[in-house]
């Protein structure tokens, strides 16, 4: 059984600019959570995103304790400004 999963992290707007990328593949251990994905992104670029950004898992707002599975899409959502 695989011990790692790959997920796709998406960054937008100011976060993407600061990170220098809008899409980041992440390898995480099985059982990792949304919060672990955020921590992994912050490990790569601590200043790019805040400590507790809003996040979405597979296009829905998510809690940090939701467990990820292979192929999930985690989006880090800057303050929205539509309208």
């Amino acid at each position: 059984m695989a011990r790692e999963i790959q997920v796709k992290a998406l960054l937008f707007a100011s976060y993407a600019d600061a990170f220098g990328s809008a899409e980041v593949p992440l390898l995480l251990v099985v059982g990792s959570t949304v919060g672990d994905a955020v921590a992994a992104l912050r490990a790569k670029s601590p200043a790019a995103i805040p400590a507790r950004p809003l996040v979405a898992l597979n296009e829905r707002y998510a809690r940090y304790d939701e467990v990820l599975t292979q192929g999930d899409e985690v989006a880090v959502i800057p303050p929205v400004a539509g309208g």
Partner: protein, 154 residues
């Protein structure tokens, strides 16, 4: 009920025709347009981006709630993406109801909800050549994080 992200100019008249219904005595229209100033700086244009599939999903969820709350017969929303000039329509919400109060309440509710949850961002272009992503939370209290984040983020 229809929600869409579009890259072409929004035509309010088309949306009014879309909701037309002889049982409705009221059609309410809200248009958001690109303003020439923000926080004391002269704005020359705007660029909208979205997390598109999620933004459509959120817009549809808001329309469902609006329909539930105000029993509007028909409601449509279009939000524009890409580069917009001053005065152009960035968002249009059109609702039809037998009576005016519900139609107007539905459009107001919808724009207020859009500003809270729909993952759309705007990059303002200023007269001095600079650009900035608009952050409506700047200067406001921080957004309440989801429960139980303290132990994960360290």
């Amino acid at each position: 009920m229809r929600a869409a992200l579009v890259t072409r100019p929004i035509d309010p008249a088309t949306l009014v025709a879309e909701v037309a219904d002889h049982s409705c005595g009221a059609v309410s229209i809200f248009l958001g347009t690109v303003r020439n100033a923000h926080a004391g700086k002269a704005v020359t244009g705007m660029e909208y981006k979205a997390y598109e599939p999620m933004a459509v999903r959120e817009l549809e969820a808001i329309l469902l709630r609006a329909r539930e709350r105000f029993a509007v017969e028909h409601i449509v929303v279009e939000h524009r993406l890409g580069r917009l000039e001053l005065g152009e329509v960035s968002v249009a919400i059109v609702a039809a109801h037998p009576h005016r109060r519900e139609a107007m309440d539905a459009t107001r509710f919808t724009i207020e909800e859009i500003k809270k949850t729909v993952p759309i961002w705007k990059l303002e272009h200023y007269a001095d050549g600079s650009r900035e992503w608009v952050d409506p939370t700047r200067g406001a209290p921080p957004v309440q994080p989801p429960a139980n984040v303290a132990e994960v983020v360290g």
